[in-house]
């Protein structure tokens, strides 16, 4: 029993250290780390990406000490609510569903969502009748295009990342298709290439670097934003963190005004998708 007692005593400091309250000044920002070029890991395992650079710049402008940490996408909102961190910068769109539980700063990027398929796959030959669709105000032409896509994909399998606005969209509008949800977008692309799903539905910004690494992918259909898909990517915070949110929004506004946000976006995405 003696060695067991010793082990029990040794475990206590372990637990106490884990419970030590963090410094109030450090703002902990959570990101996914698996969604290039927003946030991903380089081959040395370090977190890099558009949002990591943006976080550093915003915090500098807002005079905050920030720490970026990794968090699996599934647990990112519950983690915020449970105080594991103070802000989310993980390519998260502002949506009504999310605003029921958390609050957002002003958007820093607007990313259209689009269908993607293989060169010989379903939809590769589809030519969209419209250049883009915003889901907030859908006119008859746009509604027809969406219906057309739903018909094209009826009976087919669509891949999305779980717990995303993309998933909500296809569940709402593509009711005759089979939907498969993946833990990461990367795994979804793996299965698209492997032929387990017919098409994928994800953001054009995620797809941009993928085209270089995985040739043979074709995007089709009009890029979509708004409505169910969200009103832009912004910093997520707990509802009561009003001051923190305002600091972020002010810094974002400053970056839009002096053009540095556009420059950063172009650097990482190849084209300017910054919010205006």
């Amino acid at each position: 029993m003696r060695s067991r007692l010793k082990r029990l005593i040794l475990a206590v400091p372990f637990v106490v250290a884990g419970l030590a309250p963090a410094q109030a000044e450090v703002v902990r920002i959570a990101t996914e780390g698996a969604y290039a070029p927003y946030n991903f890991k380089d081959s040395s395992g370090k977190l890099v990406g558009f949002e990591i650079d943006l976080a550093a710049e915003l915090c500098k402008r807002a005079a905050l000490t920030c720490e970026v940490q990794e968090q699996a996408w599934d647990g990112i909102v519950p983690g915020l609510l449970a105080n594991k961190f103070d802000a989310i910068m993980a390519a998260m769109n502002i949506t009504d569903k999310r605003e029921a539980v958390i609050a957002f700063s002003r958007p820093y990027v607007k990313t259209p969502i689009r269908f993607v398929t293989t060169k010989t796959g379903v939809g590769a030959a589809h030519t969209a009748s419209l250049p883009a669709i915003t889901l907030e105000e859908v006119d008859p032409a746009e509604a027809a295009e969406i219906k057309g896509l739903a018909k094209l994909l009826s009976g087919k399998t669509i891949g999305v990342q779980a717990s995303t606005s993309h998933e909500w969209f296809v569940k709402e509008y593509m009711k005759d298709s089979t939907i498969k949800s993946y833990d990461t977008m990367d795994n979804m692309i793996l299965d698209l290439v492997a032929g387990r799903i017919d098409v994928g539905y994800t953001s054009t910004t995620f797809l941009a670097p993928i085209h270089k690494k995985t040739p043979g992918l074709v995007e089709f259909g009009p890029p979509m934003t708004g409505g169910l898909l969200g009103r832009g990517v912004a910093v997520g915070t707990r509802k009561e963190s009003t001051e923190l949110r305002e600091k972020f929004s002010t810094a974002i506004g400053a970056m839009i005004a002096d053009g540095s946000l556009s420059a950063l976006a172009t650097k990482w995405f190849g084209f300017d998708i910054s919010a205006k």
Partner: protein, 229 residues
Amino acid sequence: MGGLDHLGFILDTVFHLSAGIPRTLVLAAVSLAIGFVLAVGVAVALLASNPAARKLAAGYVYVFRSSPLLVQIFLIYYGSGQFRGALEVLGLWHFFREAWFCAILALTLNTGAYTSVLIAGGLRSVPWGQIEAAQAVGMSRYRVFASIAFPQALRHALPAYSNEVVLMIKATALASTITLLEITGLAKQLSAETYRPFEVFAAAGIIYIALNGVVAGGFGLVERALQRR
């Protein structure tokens, strides 16, 4: 009162998640059935006189018992995608393409390894005197196995096998990581929609405990029935 609202939500969720019970049970049942047949073969090989057969069987058992089921599932599902070309040539891609096939394959290989050890242990426990007597009476090797050794081996392994069935039902939860919507997969979806993960997963837990309770109870009845004979 907050507590009552939580309870109501949990009960509601249990109702919603029960839609996943059939898939959970089918995954478990099919894997257990095929895995059992596999296990019998492997158990015989483990006790065979041929050293090559013994080594092969032992190697298979060792690999699948020493590594996590999650790694085995990902290896089969995503790993097969890497060799799609080769699999298509062999005409096997049609199967590996399906998530349920990969899940059942992984679960079957897994339970096959564990169960083979149970059956081998059961076979070894049959008193040698009985085997000798059966052979002396002129029974063929097959009859000795089927009528004398195997039934007793099963009876010996029954308590441990009930444990294996419970473990299999729990193992099906891992199928949710490769897009299958059994109980845990549905729970993950629901928790993301309602943002009330604690209650949703607690509800899922209740369902599994209930299922396992039924299984354990069922096996208890079988054991008692066999003892009376």
